[in-house]
Symmetry: C2
């Protein structure tokens, strides 16, 4: 497979960065081809703005999604966006590798989504979920957090991690057509021993060597809804 | 009340911006004092990095939250962060006003959270949820989106909007101690008539004039959990 790892951590010596580095090696050893976007190293600009378009469909009023559609057709997206779009288009699997900030992605990674998941390419009209622009590709999260595993769950203090991930896994990746593989979650990272962290690297390698057998998460299919997107009766 | 509106939209003529402008006027008419952080206008930097600290507790290794704690004590946070922290500290109510991007906040607003919700001030140790640093303050979302109302809900195509908002309303605002008021949601904005939009401005004004009567959303209280944060039996 062609695999794109998008990595977002401000500290090159961090465990999140070690996850990225080890996964590159592990995936290469498994025979995959790996590309990496290290957003902090690239000094990636995460702010969606009118400066993202060399030409505008409507120079008087910025509707960002409409200008994405215009510029993707006219080939007038800025180079930093175009390069990332092409990396995703080349990939069979997209891995987002990050530290959880405020039960979500760091802003630099959210902005990579905002700017690179271009309307007209990643989605548009009735092309979303299982008809999204990225159908046929897989995506997976790999992230670290401070909390312990028992702090997440239906009755746990922070609620279920699946619910917290809905905007990313459902509203973003599944919406754009990706088949979403179960995430690799590294809990309590700042507080555990080096041995425990080494074990996590081994666990992640295991997760990656088993990619083909991972069962994708379940998300809506357009066929379950009518043409106004009201749910159809089941069965 | 002192009210801080944090606004994030790249188009000054947008309806999201109109919501911000009308709310400023409506809140002033109601006798409140209003401050505004217009993140695009301010060219706010959303990327958490080592450059956020004039001095470091550990110059060799960046643990962002630990450095926030260090710099908040040492008064060495960069000025752009310090100014925003003080705005929140002065506010009785924080309003986040934004267009929904990928079922979440635009990156520039996510980065405002990442950098301004400083460890040691907003939370730290056992100071979170109903013991968070911002206890006594309220917070509220006001946002626009393209989807129609019937596309959100437990059996709807995008799932429930409350679930999609969990990382912001629970994992961020409630975690930091804010009492979270019900959001004002403007559905289907790019596709509706000017008359319908005018009605939404009236509805928002109504929502704002009723702030005192809005029932806060329910989130965990630390007293429901033991000292390791396992849930206590109910009753």
């Amino acid at each position: 497979m062609n695999i794109l790892i998008v990595h977002a951590h401000p500290e090159p010596q961090s465990f999140t960065t070690a996850l990225k580095d080890h996964s590159i090696q592990a995936l290469k050893d498994l025979g995959h081809h790996v590309e990496v976007s290290d957003l902090y190293e690239m000094d990636f600009n995460p702010v969606a703005s009118k400066a993202d378009f060399h030409s505008r469909g409507n120079p008087e009023y910025l509707n960002y999604a409409l200008e994405q559609r215009h510029s993707s057709k006219a080939h007038t997206l800025t180079e930093d966006i175009q390069v990332e779009v092409e990396k995703v288009q080349r990939a069979d699997l997209l891995i987002l590798n990050f530290p959880m900030y405020w039960t979500s992605m760091p802003a630099i990674l959210k902005g990579w989504i905002d700017r690179v998941f271009v309307s007209g390419i990643f989605y548009g009209g009735k092309r979303f979920y299982n008809h999204g622009g990225m159908v046929g590709k897989k995506a997976m999260l790999s992230f670290t957090l401070g909390g312990r595993e028992h702090m997440f769950g239906d009755h746990a203090i922070h609620g279920s991690i699946e619910d917290l991930l809905l905007p990313i896994q459902r509203g973003t990746l599944a919406y754009a057509g990706f088949e979403v593989l179960p995430p690799f979650v590294a809990y309590h990272v700042p507080y555990i021993s080096n041995e425990a962290r080494q074990q996590m690297l081994v666990d992640y390698q295991q997760h990656l060597s088993n990619l083909e057998n991972l069962k994708a998460l379940e998300f809506p299919k357009l066929e379950q809804f009518d043409d106004k997107l009201y749910p159809l009766p089941k069965g």
